[in-house]
Amino acid sequence: MIVSFPNMGYSWPAFKTLIECMGVKVVLPDPTNREAVKIGVKYSPEFVCFPFKATLGDFVSAIKKGADTLVMAIDCGPCRFGFYHAVQERILHDMGYKDVRVIPLDQADLLEFKWVKTLFEVTPTKNLFLYTKAVKAVQYFIKKTKYIDDISTAEGLIRCYERNKGDTTRVVKKLLIKLDETNKINELRKFKSVITNEFKKIDIDRSRNPLKVALSGEIHITLEPNDNLDIRRKLGEMGVQLYQNLSVYDWVIHKFHLNYHRKWLEYLARPYMPMDIGGEAVWVIGEYIDRARSGFDGFIHAYPFTCMPEISARTIITNVLHKKYDLPIIYFSFDEHAAESGFRTRLEAFVDLIQGRREQKKHKKEIKLEEKSKEPLYEIHGGSLYNNIVQFIQTG
């Protein structure tokens, strides 16, 4: 049995560990590319959202590499995401891949422990040691997702300062491969210092005063660089400091009911959207308010074309919140298109817009460590590593 799963940005080392710890072989699909998207679009229903098409393309690419069991997350939430694995399995069968199974990884509420069933389902041998294996798998998975979150946090903070274009991208790639190779608990515990040390090697220009922009939106689109036309890198290279709460770690912890930051965002969003309507709608609204209060320069909302929950959030933001909080926001709806010029024009114009606003307001508040205590209740970002990186940028 060879297991595979779709691409979602940097998260592949974590999912790989989760399944490898159960003693199963894993193949990774190729990074989402034109070919995969073409196949995905060809065999998908036309009106389904882009993540469905992209992941279907990933599945086909994994099957061609030898995978026979595919894991797909499901969420019995309000949007159609809950049915994706079943529809995709049928499509794959119709395409002629008869022996392929798509196993759902139920993440509606991780405390229901339905995911244990999935882990056992992908494991061919059944014995008593399976439970210890599962504990180890989950422990490694959570540790690795945390480090991936740290890497992307540091990436967003540092890229706008780099002197040689492309340094940060190289460091991130190197760290992900290193993280994938680290499979001992002792080494894994020390991995945070590896991350900080690697990032401290980057030659940075401390005199810059970058714009602070938050990125949020649907999780697959915001995390997968091949689907969102590499928005994180483009913004960083335009000199924008990027903050992104959204990550697999953030999501997993939320589903274990331990993510108090998300609870805080839900609290902020409650007057406008009292319940989870699917996607990231509630948290996008909460984050918009949170970012506006903590003095950000701009906000980017990315979502797949035809995503109902995100469009609801968008409407609430444009009609109510934008007028109230006055934080510039730009929306990007992504689909299979690859033409970058319109996307780039809007992105550049947005950066010019927030630059102009900043110059007018002379509002040049930099993040300082002592100022953080005055900011809202919950830290914006991943704890000690965030502080290390900010300190490194400020003092060296």
Partner: protein
């Protein structure tokens, strides 16, 4: 002959400063030569000729001939050059521009220089349409059509050909209508089938065209002005603003007066904005221009494409180089940014 001089010669050559703005849009190409007092000295307005490189060369040749014919213009030297439009980076590389900015900024800057208290800018071009909201002199919001080219000049152009009337007369027909036909505005596919139906039902050309203008305006407002307050004064520019029917239709829908920059400037606003930005750049930075000069028409550029092949994406990379020196001036097309030279 206008020459590009190095900074050292600026005082020596005794020539007056001028700035060149280039706007390479999807359908047309605009050049504006501006002096220090924001006076337009000369301009070029052309339809695109296939590749942006060819069109820019053609435009530059026309600019050159205009300058050579006019002795007054020969007192000026181009101090800086800026490019905008969808092909701004390629154009910048080809002509040796000093800066490339988006159309949104260029339009806003140009409009503000003519109407300092403008609060809303409507712009409809050949392939795209924009709305720019300004408050107290800065851009606070903008929108650009992202997924659909409905409600742009190309559609009107196509329909004018179908109705067999020249696009220049389109506006006059619309203004003469007493009772505009109702035509679906959501999608141009619906609009076209509605039009054919109305044509066959015997409506007059004037009424159909006026209905078309209405539907285009409705489509534009629905698509772009979602949740935005369109406040007066409103300035309307871009190629479609030459069309009287659309102006009238906008006035009817928005219930206020629409200003259109006069003197043929309505289509040149992007290029004018770039000229103004180039002047700011020149004054603030005191850097020598890298502009190749009007003689760039004599340089041969070669473009070639190759496939990267380093990952399954297999992006095709476009490379533009100067034939004589084999110097690569621009390379783009990769998704990961690996080969990019701008």
């Amino acid at each position: 002959m206008v020459q590009v001089n190095e900074k050292i010669h600026v005082s020596k050559d005794g020539k007056r400063d001028s700035y060149l703005g280039i706007d390479v849009g999807s359908v047309t190409l605009k050049f504006v030569l501006m002096d220090n007092d924001q006076r337009v000295l000369s301009n070029v307005f052309l339809r695109n000729q296939g590749s942006p490189i060819d069109s820019v060369k053609l435009g530059m040749a026309e600019m050159r001939s205009k300058i050579e014919k006019n002795p007054e213009l020969q007192e000026y030297a181009i101090r800086a050059c800026g490019t905008t439009g969808s092909a701004r980076y390629l154009t910048k590389a080809v002509v040796g521009g000093d800066l490339a900015k988006t159309e949104i900024i260029a339009h806003a800057v140009a409009t503000q220089s003519m109407y300092p208290d403008v609060r809303t800018i409507l712009e409809i071009g050949g392939q795209d349409s924009k709305i720019i909201i300004l408050r107290d002199g800065i851009i606070v919001d903008f929108a650009m059509n992202s997924v659909c080219a409905a409600g742009t000049g190309s559609f009107l152009d196509h329909q004018a050909t179908r109705l067999n009337i020249p696009i220049e007369d389109f506006g006059d027909y619309a203004v003469n209508s007493k009772n505009p036909a109702s035509i679906a505005g959501r999608c141009t596919v619906f609009a076209e089938s509605d039009m054919i139906h109305k044509q066959n039902a015997g409506y007059s050309k004037e009424d159909i065209i006026a209905g078309l203008c209405d539907s285009l305006v409705r489509n534009y407002l629905n698509n772009l002005s979602k949740g935005k307050d369109l406040e007066e004064p409103i300035v309307f520019q871009g190629g479609v603003s030459s069309n009287k029917g659309i102006i009238k239709s906008f006035e009817r829908h928005l219930g206020c007066k629409i200003t259109v920059p006069g003197g043929g400037l309505n289509v040149l606003m992007g290029a004018l904005g770039m000229a103004i930005l180039s002047r700011e750049y020149y004054i603030n930075n005191e850097i020598d221009t890298v502009f190749r000069g009007l003689r760039m028409t004599d340089i041969d550029f070669r473009t070639r494409t190759f496939n990267c092949g380093d990952c399954p994406n297999n992006c095709s990379i476009v490379e533009c180089s100067i034939v004589e020196t084999n110097e690569v001036i621009a390379r783009w097309g990769s998704r990961c940014g690996k080969w990019e030279v701008f």
